[in-house]
């Protein structure tokens, strides 16, 4: 029962956690800054008796996962930026076909080719995306290497609980940093555990048909089933961390690398008697709206800190606080924010020098 402390890079820790969670099928295509996941899987999957495939492209990799998931395996793929775009078709299908899998999106900055370094502007793609149709994916946003491990390990259970895609949304900083983490015990997953998988079955035994369920149960029943699945995820899976919000005047809202800098900003501000707090969503879909219902009366404004050129998470914050408080975004594009700058931005808000941020 000894704890297993190791120093690992975020990407590699995610891959190791997946293997320990019983992931035995990985297919993906290289793209910075997530390629270490693919490389780690290529070196270590065999030890666990699983299959690693470097796909010819993202769509092929996801299609292989489509088959492997339907056959009952715990599956994972990973990508970033333009590579993650290409997974959208299959994300929609997998969630619609009720197939579980875990995907990692290590966000890089910018639209188009952008930069290969950290960004947080693929937020919308992760929380509003999922290809065509209105599917939802459970999206975790880890803020440390250890949290990458814990959330990835759990993600496989959640993917099977809801028979849905689960996304681990990191950024180029979290995925590249090296930190201490605790590795959970390795476990095996039984590919015959579920009754919905493709196995090949004798005559007379009911066969499984993996496609949109509307063919077998009727469209309206299928629609209800889907809506219930997404609604249950929304009700039950909201997770967040609060840091010194009890008496906060301004509450920062941030994920990933930005949330870590925000913690420093809160500590720094409080040394000067300026009451900042941090609300860190751990799930970004479902966005932790429940956390906002419990915020103290002392809160005068909310400030998102995002590595983007326009506020994306702001939309979720405005909905969550029902437009009741002034809203601001501190946006740093491709640069990792600095604690001091965040504190100064909040001081300027207090002094009435900053206009509210328009979310469009």
């Amino acid at each position: 029962m000894s704890a297993d402390y190791v120093l690992m890079k975020g990407n590699e820790a995610i891959a190791e956690a997946a293997l320990r969670a019983g992931c035995r099928f990985y297919a993906g295509y290289p793209i910075t800054p997530q390629s270490e996941i693919l490389e780690y899987m290529s070196s270590n999957m065999q030890k666990y008796g699983g299959t690693f495939i470097q796909g010819e492209n993202e769509i092929a990799s996801m299609s292989m996962i489509w088959g492997a998931a339907a056959a009952g395996a715990r599956c994972m793929s990973s990508s970033s930026g333009p590579g993650f775009d290409l997974k959208q078709e299959e994300i929609s299908y997998l969630s619609s076909y009720n197939l579980p899998c875990v995907l990692v999106d290590a966000m890089r900055y910018g639209l188009g080719d952008g930069e290969i370094t950290a960004g947080q502007d693929s937020y919308w793609e992760a929380v509003r995306g999922g290809g065509h149709g209105d599917s939802r994916q459970l999206v975790y946003a880890p803020a440390s290497v250890d949290e990458c491990v814990q959330l990835t390990y759990q993600a496989f259970d959640k993917a099977e609980e809801y028979r849905n895609v689960v996304i681990i949304l990191t950024d180029g900083a979290i995925s590249q940093m090296i930190e201490k983490c605790t590795l959970p015990p390795a476990k095996e997953h039984d590919i015959n555990k579920f009754d919905w998988t493709l196995t090949g079955k004798p005559l007379g035994v009911k066969k499984n048909k993996v496609y949109n369920l509307d063919h077998t149960i009727g469209f309206e029943a299928w629609e209800k089933l889907m809506r219930n699945k997404f609604k249950t995820m929304y009700e039950n899976e909201q997770r967040w961390e609060e840091f010194q919000t009890d008496d906060a005047e301004i509450v920062l809202v941030a994920i990933g690398i930005s949330s870590r800098v925000c913690k420093s900003a809160v500590r720094q501000a409080r040394k000067e008697g300026f009451k900042l707090g941090l609300l860190r969503p751990i799930t970004v879909w479902p966005f932790p709206r429940k956390a906002f219902e419990k915020m103290p009366k002392s809160v005068e404004a909310y400030v998102t800190v995002e590595m983007g050129m326009s506020s994306q998470m702001g939309e979720d914050v405005l909905l969550a606080m029902k437009h009741q408080k002034p809203f601001y975004s501190y946006l740093t594009t491709k640069y990792i924010p600095k604690a001091e700058d965040i504190v100064n931005f909040c001081k300027d808000i207090k002094a009435g020098k900053v206009q509210q941020t328009e979310v469009f």
Partner: protein, 246 residues
């Protein structure tokens, strides 16, 4: 030997158009699987196009893949369940146009699956558009109303010749326009399934198949077109047989 009894694996009707070749292909697949006693471990992969109809018609575990990527879906299944008999029933738009990359790389990886591709020279399910790989020069479609012009649309491609560049187990092309050719096609399909059963590599069987609805021909004339025109460009026979002639 011709059989008249319906294979027991066919449990539902389909909605293939009258005279369509997919229904014959589906039956040949079912007959071959039964004759090889592979029903119990069969997993079928179909496209979200015409072959989709066989998903409910056949009494196997079945999955509909993303358009074009059936070879990749089958790869995922086969790697997780190597003991299963995994076959693909695809069209030529799926396997040779949008999914050429996935078909090619399944072949390059020599994944031990059996892939059956209907070559009907047209996009059937979407209403009869040009197929870049297989529409013959001069053939009129709803997206090439004046006929396929090679100057702008290129020539049709014999994909089996392309795949001959890869180290695969078995490549063959059959046709359905008479009993002799149907029997030959079945032999090819069976061989592809046997290869998989025996732990050999990738097998692809292409079948020249009529689409009377979109060719705007009656079923007999559609069969005659295959014999007189399509087969000239796409000759039937074995293209690759790594295991050697029986």
């Amino acid at each position: 030997m011709a059989k008249f009894a319906k294979p027991e694996s066919i449990v539902n009707t389909t909605e293939y158009c009258g005279g369509c070749g997919h229904g014959i292909i589906q039956r040949l697949i079912a007959e071959s699987i039964e004759e090889l006693n592979l029903q119990d471990k069969t997993i079928g992969v179909v496209d979200i196009a015409c072959s989709y109809w066989s998903l409910d018609a056949l009494d196997y575990d079945m999955i509909a893949g993303p358009h074009g990527r059936l070879a990749a879906v089958a790869t995922g299944i086969k790697r997780v369940r190597p003991e299963a008999n995994v076959y693909v029933h695809s069209g030529d738009g799926c396997a040779y146009v949008i999914g050429l990359s996935e078909t090619s790389y399944a072949a390059i990886r020599d994944v031990p699956i059996t892939m059956i591709v209907a070559n009907n020279g047209i996009f059937g399910m979407t209403g009869g558009q040009l197929n870049l790989a297989t529409t013959l020069v001069g053939d009129k479609t709803v997206s090439s109303k004046a006929g396929r012009n090679p100057d702008t649309m290129g020539h049709p491609v014999d994909m089996l010749k392309s795949f001959q560049n890869y180290d695969v187990e078995f490549l063959a092309r059959g046709a359905l326009y008479d009993v002799k050719h149907i029997e030959q096609t079945k032999k090819f399909i069976k061989k592809g399934l046997e290869n998989q059963r025996d732990g050999k590599g990738f097998s692809l069987i292409e079948v020249l198949s009529p689409c009377p609805t979109n060719w705007k021909l009656d079923p007999v004339k559609a069969m005659e077109k295959i014999k007189n025109e399509n087969e000239k460009i796409f000759p039937v026979g074995v293209y690759t047989d790594r295991g050697g002639v029986q």
